[in-house]
């Protein structure tokens, strides 16, 4: 099976893969046992692809995503984003790589409680050193696009979960990143809101041809994706491509 993917890889190199995962292996060494969370995962994700990582609990979805976002170092294997092997980056460089190229949507929203919706959305631009005026204008635009024009100056504690996650989406897209990662972005939301949120994310991504890597265990959500990679016990068991 790995061989098969390897050949597929050679073909798609020409297509300028956005993310190329090569034999990624992660072993967690505990006191008396070791847990193999990723079992030599290889895959390529194209620019503009909305890719869903699907699987049951404990299958290694989050582990894979965290590696893609450079928050964890693999036991072996490589992850290329563009031409950069992010597994080789030092932490400080990884942080700045994320700042420039990556957006994040969290399951727990992770808005900073001390900042308003607007400030939360503008935060990644602040990290990039944009002046206040410019970043607030852009943040306001994005908040309007996620339908929160009335909540611009509200604090996270004053908003519902769905609203908070919309702020989270606006924040993820504010810097126009090449890739947006999302780990169970609707895990805490009801079905109706989930649909809203998923539509919002896919719509935003399609507008700018951005790549989305989405983790979920909900088969219904997978229907929003172009491609579904199914993991079981740290191995890719299925890689379905839907026709656009």
């Amino acid at each position: 099976m790995e061989e098969k993917i390897d050949t597929a890889q050679k073909i798609t190199v020409k297509n300028r893969a956005m993310i190329r995962i090569n034999r990624l292996r992660k072993v967690y060494k505990l006191e008396d046992e070791s847990v193999v969370a990723l079992h030599g995962v290889s895959a390529e994700i194209q620019r503009g692809e909305i890719c869903c990582i699907f699987g049951t609990s404990g299958s290694g979805k989050s582990t894979l995503l965290n590696h893609l976002a450079g928050m964890e170092k693999p036991t072996s294997g490589e992850i290329f984003m563009g031409k950069t092997d992010i597994t080789k980056l030092r932490e400080a460089d990884m942080v700045s790589f994320r700042r420039k190229h990556i957006g994040f949507i969290f399951q727990a929203y992770n808005l900073l409680p001390g900042l308003t919706a607007l400030e939360n959305v503008a935060l990644p631009m602040m990290f990039q050193g944009y002046p206040k005026k410019e970043r607030n204008k852009r943040a306001e635009d994005l908040l309007k696009r996620v339908g929160l024009e009335k909540r611009i100056h509200h604090y996270p504690s004053q908003m519902s979960g769905g609203q908070q996650q919309r702020v989270g989406i606006a924040r993820a897209f504010v810097t126009d990143p090449k890739v947006v990662f999302a780990d169970e972005p609707t895990g805490n939301l009801d079905t109706k809101t989930t649909a809203q949120i998923m539509e919002m994310i896919t719509e935003m991504a399609r507008q700018n041809n951005q790549t989305i890597v989405l983790v979920t265990h909900d088969p219904h959500m997978a229907s929003y994706a172009d491609r579904i990679i199914t993991l079981i016990d740290g191995k890719i068991v299925k890689d379905e491509q839907k026709k656009k």
Binding site: S62, N66, A69, M71, E72, E91, A92, V95, S96, F97, R98, R99, K100, I102, F104, F106, Q107, A108, N110, L112, P113, G114, L115, L123, P124, M126, F127, Q128, G129, P131, K132, R171, D183
Partner: protein, 453 residues
């Protein structure tokens, strides 16, 4: 991130945890206040000590006299000796003086020796050193070098008794009456050193007679009156100052009439040192030459040392409280970081650079120091004012000097502007320093913290 943005985030974070920030700040206020007050007390002490010493006389002056007879290495304090002293390092001026008390001789002036002064001291100074002696002329002029020209002390004229007035009313009371004038203008009146001729036969008659018989020894011309200055010598008060040539000659004349002893030695040599820090070493040198010395040093040094000791003690007390405040800041920062572990993870996941995270925490800690420092400085000024107003004068009054309490004008606590600046600056540095370890910890928090549910 721009500095402004980092600063903004820091302020918000401090503001969000108002009560904790306030408690930590108040720790710094107390610490800062303690240090400032302690130092201000030290400064007050030092100041009042300085004032006291100033009142005591010239601190850079060493008075050299010949050693007592029983000192083995004793040397004559003569011209040769003085020349040796002049060659020492760090000396500004050397003024040798010969002194002679008039004992049974008198000074007389006026018609038929109407005005009489029966006690005074004559001081001789080598002509070339007269300038270095630094006498201030209050009236008249300096000795020009003509024979028998002398300077009179400021109050010499008042020492004269008017023999034509009754006892008890025959002197001018210049102590209690500021506008008092002497009986005669000393600058225009010839003065004579004279000996009272006692004739046993006319003894009874003589007592009431203004026409007692006087044997003149030496006529003097007072050309100037010196301003009283005990630093320059007691003679500026009620003595007579003259060139050494005149002095030696007059001494010989007087010798013929009395048994005042002649000496080649100077009675004292005043040595002015160029800096207060050299007094000790110069004094030792002079002692080594075989003379006896005295200066304020023996008084000043232990005083200074005791003040220094007290200052150290006070500063130590202050430093302890400041140290406690620093621990407080570090503790608050660590707590805040533990509390914000997730938040820091989010910052990292969103791409906030490590140096910006570090800066944010350092600034937070520094701001606690800054606010505490400013408030502390203000509180200190208040406390200082209260102490000065209600607690009286400086701590040095405690038996170091025999001065009455309150006579030294220095305040108990003095806060110079630099102390305020230093306190604020130091508090900021302390805050940043205390924030250093916590901020390192913050930077080490993993971005994965953001992913935990």
């Amino acid at each position: 991130m721009t500095w402004r943005d980092i600063l903004g985030l820091s302020v918000r974070n401090l503001y969000r945890r108002k009560s904790r920030t306030l408690l930590t700040v108040s720790g710094v206020v107390i610490g800062c206040c303690a240090v400032v007050i302690m130092i201000s007390l030290g400064i007050g002490m030092k100041k009042s000590q300085e004032q006291m010493l100033e009142g005591m006389g010239n601190l850079m002056r060493i008075t050299v006299t010949s050693a007592p007879q029983n000192v083995a290495k004793r040397r004559l304090l003569d011209k040769k000796g003085v020349d040796k002293i002049r060659k020492l390092q760090n000396i500004k001026a050397v003024v040798p003086k010969k002194e002679m008390d008039l004992e049974e001789l008198n000074l007389i002036a006026g018609d038929q020796a109407r005005f009489q002064c029966n006690y005074t001291t004559i001081v001789g100074i080598p002509e070339k050193d007269l300038e270095a002696a630094g006498y201030e002329i209050k009236d008249g002029k300096m000795i020009s070098g003509r024979e028998n020209e002398v300077l009179a002390g400021e109050h010499l004229a008042y020492q004269f008794v008017d023999s034509r007035r009754p006892d008890g009313k025959n002197m001018v009371d210049y102590w209690s009456d500021e506008n008092a004038q002497p009986y005669f203008p000393i600058l225009q009146t010839p003065v004579e050193v004279a000996k009272k001729e006692e004739k046993a036969a006319d003894g009874i008659q003589e007592q009431n007679s203004a026409k007692a018989s006087w044997k003149g020894i030496q006529k003097l011309t007072v050309v100037g009156v010196t301003k009283q200055d005990f630093d320059k010598g007691d003679e500026t008060e009620g003595g007579i100052i003259m060139g050494m040539r005149d002095f030696d000659r007059i001494q010989k004349e007087i010798r013929k009439e009395t048994n005042i002893k002649l000496s080649r030695e100077y009675s004292r040599v005043l040595v002015d040192v160029d800096d207060i820090s050299h007094v000790d070493s110069v004094e030792k040198e002079i002692k080594r030459l075989g003379y006896q010395t005295s200066s304020m040093e023996s008084l000043r040094k232990p005083m200074e040392e005791s003040v220094k000791q007290k200052q150290m003690m006070l500063a130590g007390l202050g430093a302890v409280s400041l140290f406690v405040a620093a621990i407080g800041i570090a503790n608050t920062m660590i707590m805040s970081i533990v509390e914000r572990t997730r938040e820091i993870g989010i910052l990292k996941a969103l791409g906030c650079s490590l140096s910006d995270i570090r800066k944010e925490f350092l600034i937070e800690a520094g701001m606690i120091g800054f606010i505490g420092g400013i408030a502390g400085a203000l509180v200190s000024c208040g406390v200082s004012w209260i102490m000065n107003t209600y607690m009286g004068s400086s701590l040095t009054g405690d038996g170091l000097m025999m001065m009455e309490e309150g006579t030294s004008g220095a305040a108990l606590s003095i806060i110079p502007p630099w102390l305020i600046g230093a306190a604020v600056l130091f508090s900021v540095i302390m805050g940043v320093g205390a924030g250093f370890f916590p901020s390192n910890r913050a930077v080490q928090i993993s971005a994965l913290e953001a992913m935990k549910a």
